[in-house]
Symmetry: C2
Subunit: 356 residues, 2 copies
């Protein structure tokens, strides 16, 4: 049963670190916003109407045409999950923090490998997401497109010939699409070029956010870059535009890393190996520090200065060190200090089997 | 040939960490100041007269009565040694930094195991030193006493029935003796009791200094405690007094360590293991940081929280990480940055063979 697997493991397909450009692009995400015709947007729904939307989605999943896409999809009401399990879905980037508000009227759909997830009754009736490792925006869009088409055979979407897909918030009207990449940019950060590069991205109509989306701060030198505009561009144009901007950032990040490698080799090696030493031996570890150390270690992998810890282990650890997973694995409430101790234990155990 | 051994190795007998109370007392040192009758004090000597003093000491070493004490003693003019080798003798605590000034008129005598050293023409004609691991003040005084007696059979010391041994600086007149212990006090430091304890020691007529004696700052939580008064007390009284004060400090440091162990176990373990990780993996390491990390690791050994690195390795490393030894082992001049890189290399190699 896929939900049980999801909630007992910190792993998701996007963590495999095997896609193209995986040395900088952690993951690519595409999501589309869809609403059902004739039903008010979620914030105007009472309990019964919310349940109707969930029921409609449930039915659509049964009427599957492409078994390999929809077959593995399973739906669960948010209220059926424990608070920790709900938070774990956020930590794994499968749902947004917003879906946790008034969770009784909401639901989530997951494909077994967690590549596809659908939030039901978040800001829109459906938010269909595809999350893949590396730079795979086109691949993600292709999957979304087929899931969307398949669902549309059953569901009646709110659509205007003039405006496109109608959405709860006007910034999503049109394609209803948001595409994003999660980038690891320590080279630009260390060489102090990050501000300039991110400023340029924003001028090109992109939005830059931290690891957990809107309103979150960048931790571990991880930045989410996404399109701002959904109207007046086709889906393909949005994808191509974001991919082209991403490739420009990659070029600059690579240049920064090469400069570090050539000009300050020992200083960078020192930073990377100290991060390894701290993670391997710490007994008390905050999540902020862990993320900073993961970033340094990830840079070491990317520069091929260290190979002891595979990137997929780091990706999974980013979820494992979060409070929900720690509390779940402890099986009891934990104070902040107890979490810091357990976090250090967990990371240390992960590192102990590795070559030193 | 003992001088060659001394100058090619960072090891000295006092580093063996095997004496009583070695978990806090790194070493015990006793030295006496002696001057030759009828010859002006060193700062008033011309080159020829300085040479006469050195010659007299050389002769006294030949007229040995106790072969096991004086037999292994060997003399060398400071000018016969390279600048690096002279500095290495300072780093190993065998001579004072002052002996390096106007070194052409000065000499040093060493016993093969470096337990006994004699500075010739420092502030006084002779400064006879005995340096032992752990709390062994009486043992050190016993050795000094016999070496002194044996030398006095040949040498005519400046002595006054009323004042005792006459010395260049009036603060040494009388016994001419200075006894000191090198203490590792991280417990008192971390629990913020150090200021109070050291203040009390000073009120009891003791002097507190850093690792390299007068005018040096305390690094690595290492403090040298020595008697201030040389006049009006017998040698035995001085030794007993310092030993008794040292034992009071030991009680307080042990109490502080127990408190840390019981109340803040993870925090202290964290500090100790992070020090281990940093030393094991750093690529750039200043000597200040290395000393701080050694101190943390030493505390870990003393609290039996870690056993990977023996104390004698740390004691030896304290000398090996100093510029003179680094430059000597590199065989060429090194910039500060190059020394930091070489220091990290050297420490890492020392740690690589250890269990991780």
């Amino acid at each position: 049963m896929s939900f049980k697997n999801t909630l007992n493991s910190a792993h998701s397909k996007w963590m495999d670190a095997e896609g193209p450009e995986a040395d900088i692009v952690l993951s690519s995400r595409v999501r589309v916003a869809r609403n059902l015709a004739g039903i008010p947007f979620p914030h105007l729904l009472d309990a019964q109407k919310s349940e109707d939307v969930i029921h409609a989605v449930r039915l659509a999943l049964v009427n599957k045409e492409e078994p390999e896409l929809l077959g593995g999809l399973e739906i669960s009401g948010l209220g059926e999950l424990s608070p920790l399990d709900r938070q774990l879905l956020v930590d794994k980037h499968l749902i947004s923090p917003d879906l946790l508000k008034n969770f009784q009227s909401k639901a989530v759909v997951l494909r077994e490998d967690e590549v596809v997830s659908i939030m039901v009754n978040e800001e829109d009736h459906l938010r269909i997401q595809c999350l893949l490792p590396g730079l795979q925006l086109k691949e993600a869009w292709d999957i979304i497109n087929r899931v969307d088409d398949d669902l549309e055979k059953t569901l009646d979407y709110a659509f205007s010939e003039k405006l496109g897909y109608l959405t709860s918030c006007p910034t999503n009207v049109g394609t209803g699409m948001r595409a994003s990449v999660m980038l690891h940019l320590p080279g630009l950060k260390i060489t102090k070029h990050l501000g300039g590069v991110l400023g340029t991205i924003v001028k090109l109509g992109m939005t830059v956010r931290g690891l957990y989306g809107e309103g979150t701060e960048a931790v571990g030198d991880l930045f989410q870059v996404s399109n701002q505009i959904t109207l007046g561009q086709s889906e393909e144009e949005i994808i191509n535009n974001l991919e082209s901007i991403t490739r420009q950032i990659l070029t600059q990040e690579h240049a920064a890393r090469n400069a570090l490698y050539n000009d300050r080799r020992e200083v960078i090696e020192d930073r990377i190996y100290r991060a390894y030493g701290a993670l391997r031996y710490a007994r008390v570890l905050t999540s902020e520090e862990a993320m900073r150390l993961f970033s340094d270690l990830r840079l070491g992998l990317e520069l091929k200065m260290i190979s002891a810890v595979p990137a997929r282990v780091l990706n999974e650890l980013m979820v494992k060190i979060r409070p929900a997973f720690l509390i779940k694995s402890a099986g009891r409430e934990l104070s902040g200090y107890q979490r810091d101790v357990l976090r250090a234990d967990l990371v240390r155990k992960e590192f102990e089997g590795l070559p030193c």
